[in-house]
Symmetry: C2
Subunit: 338 residues, 2 copies
């Protein structure tokens, strides 16, 4: 299997990206195709003693930054490491594409260059968050600021497939993000979506889920529009990191506390690891014709390695094919086309 990786996406590119790829080659038996400036990649690898074994490089001449508007990937930055990666995966030069770069550009590029599965109305980011019972997939977590109920319904179907095929959860529990449990709660969009999810007997719909109950792990998939999903995602991460930081301040407050914290060092380390979103790798962009993964902008080598592992699972389990057969609308669309 060959994974295409944007060597110049994210805050820690290219060093951490290349490092993560090298670890993935060792651990997951994959080939890597890097997009970016070849000379820089070879120099950084050499300076840091990183082996480029089983890695090819495709030369590109620009980089999409966080300041670029999303459309740049199609126009003025069409020669960027991200745009080239999207073209290469679309042309079948690799099995999947991973980038830690500009989310907006990656969304636009995925929709326009890789394109959507027939019948899929919008691609969605599926972010993985840690919960008391394992992980939950939150989608859409940021690709679409405005959604319709039929789009949210498709997100539910795609999320269910992902959790089952890639994360190994049998008949995943689907929850709808909302401000209360009763079915009349929330805006019209959420009331309409509730009815669509309830009526779809192929889904194990467990009803509305409030933000307060998400960490408890009451659902495996949380469906939301991209605006709400992104607010949940970032609040979730922000508050978890904040509380951990406050806790750390207590541990470092004085010698007495430092000694006490040292006793629990391993357990506290395990907890930190559990809350660390870098462990989960990132969010697949679901609904595209080829597997595309968005890794966190602040990805370190370990995040990239994990993103590659999840991408490999995504490919190995034919998620794109399964979605294209299962999503409401797509079967009909395909039947019509035949």
């Amino acid at each position: 299997m060959k994974i295409i990786v944007d060597a110049f996406g994210g805050d820690n590119a290219p060093l951490e990206i290349i490092k993560g790829c090298a670890e993935a080659v060792r651990e997951y038996d994959v080939d890597i195709l890097l997009t970016g400036d070849e000379e820089t990649i070879r120099r950084v690898a050499k300076n840091h003693n990183i082996s480029l074994y089983r890695m090819e490089i495709v030369q590109t001449n620009s980089v999409i930054t966080m300041e670029d508007h999303p459309g740049a990937v199609l126009k003025e930055k069409a020669d960027s490491s991200m745009a080239e990666g999207l073209r290469l995966v679309s042309q079948g030069k690799g099995d999947a594409f991973v980038s830690a770069g500009n989310s907006g550009a990656l969304t636009v590029g995925t929709s326009m260059i890789v394109r959507r599965i027939k019948g899929i109305k919008r691609v969605a980011f599926g972010a993985i968050l840690p919960t008391a019972t394992g992980n939950m997939l939150l989608l859409d977590s940021g690709a679409n600021a405005e959604c319709r109920a039929d789009m949210l319904h498709q997100f539910a179907v795609m999320g269910s497939i992902y959790m089952e095929k890639v994360m190994g959860v049998s008949t995943p529990r689907i929850g709808l993000a909302n401000v209360g449990e009763e079915e009349h709660k929330g805006s019209q969009l959420y009331q309409d979506t509730y009815q669509l999810l309830k009526a779809d007997t192929t889904l194990r719909f467990v009803g509305n889920v409030e933000g307060r109950d998400m960490p408890g792990g009451v659902a495996d998939v949380i469906v939301a529009d991209g605006f709400t999903g992104n607010m949940i995602l970032k609040t979730y991460e922000g508050v978890a990191m904040y509380v951990m930081k406050l806790m750390k301040n207590v541990f470092y407050k004085n010698t007495k506390n430092k000694l006490a914290a040292a006793v629990m060092k391993k357990d506290l380390g395990d907890l930190k690891k559990m809350m660390d979103y870098n462990e989960t790798g990132g969010a697949p962009i679901m609904g595209a014709l080829k597997p595309v993964f968005k890794a966190h902008g602040s990805s370190k080598a370990n995040t990239i390695k994990n993103a590659i592992r999840l991408t490999k699972e995504y490919v190995a389990n034919n998620v794109v094919e399964v979605i294209s057969k299962a999503v409401p609308g797509s079967r009909t669309e395909q039947a019509k086309a035949n």
Copy 2:
């Protein structure tokens, strides 16, 4: 000053409500007017040795539960402790009303019985959340599932007044909840609101704020529609409580950890207190003609006491009057009316 309190609102009514009122009488020099079943109130107070000094009781014969639909406060439960409290404050029989009961019913009841300040389009819940720099007021945190940009603009103005007058923050920083910092981010509602806030020179608008940055305390007021605000509020509380719980599990894991945690007991207690929303008392319902406070449904005596303290500040600082003069639209409306 006389505060009207719904003795039968919330999960721990009436015991914790009465207890909180007794503490408030002692600490804040206020009179209390309780609504509810007099016999039950007197029996509970007697059984728990709670003094009813400076408290009157107005007899009511029903209670609004969490299962009642919001409109019940106007119709089949018009004789409830909540409905009566709203009528009493509207008639000037007390200076403010506090209830830990059904949020939806309290919103409808406040709008229809107490009524809105002239020119105010919607009342909003202003929830107080702890941050690294103090507190932030998040509004609307749940009264309105669907909002327009002009409503969000009014929320900003009301929030600014509240933080200045009640919480003592000079020229509060106003942030707009959003999925990115750039002004073109988010749905149309948020893009439009951004422009209104930017153009209002009476506000200290600091731009968009992502969920991730809220705990850091980058703004004193966070403006959102009620659906988004409620998702932020509950995710914020839920994740904070969850991480604290995980931490507690570490502390109780074995004897070694228990001993170590005991060393830091006071510091950990301070941290828990800081993250505990019961300390902040609840959310004022802003934009109403009289001060109405929503205390958390799970309020204990301490929460009720704090809600009464904040309500007292709200009254003492003439927040209703200041809002009625400052909110966009309301001045014009009043000038027209004169």
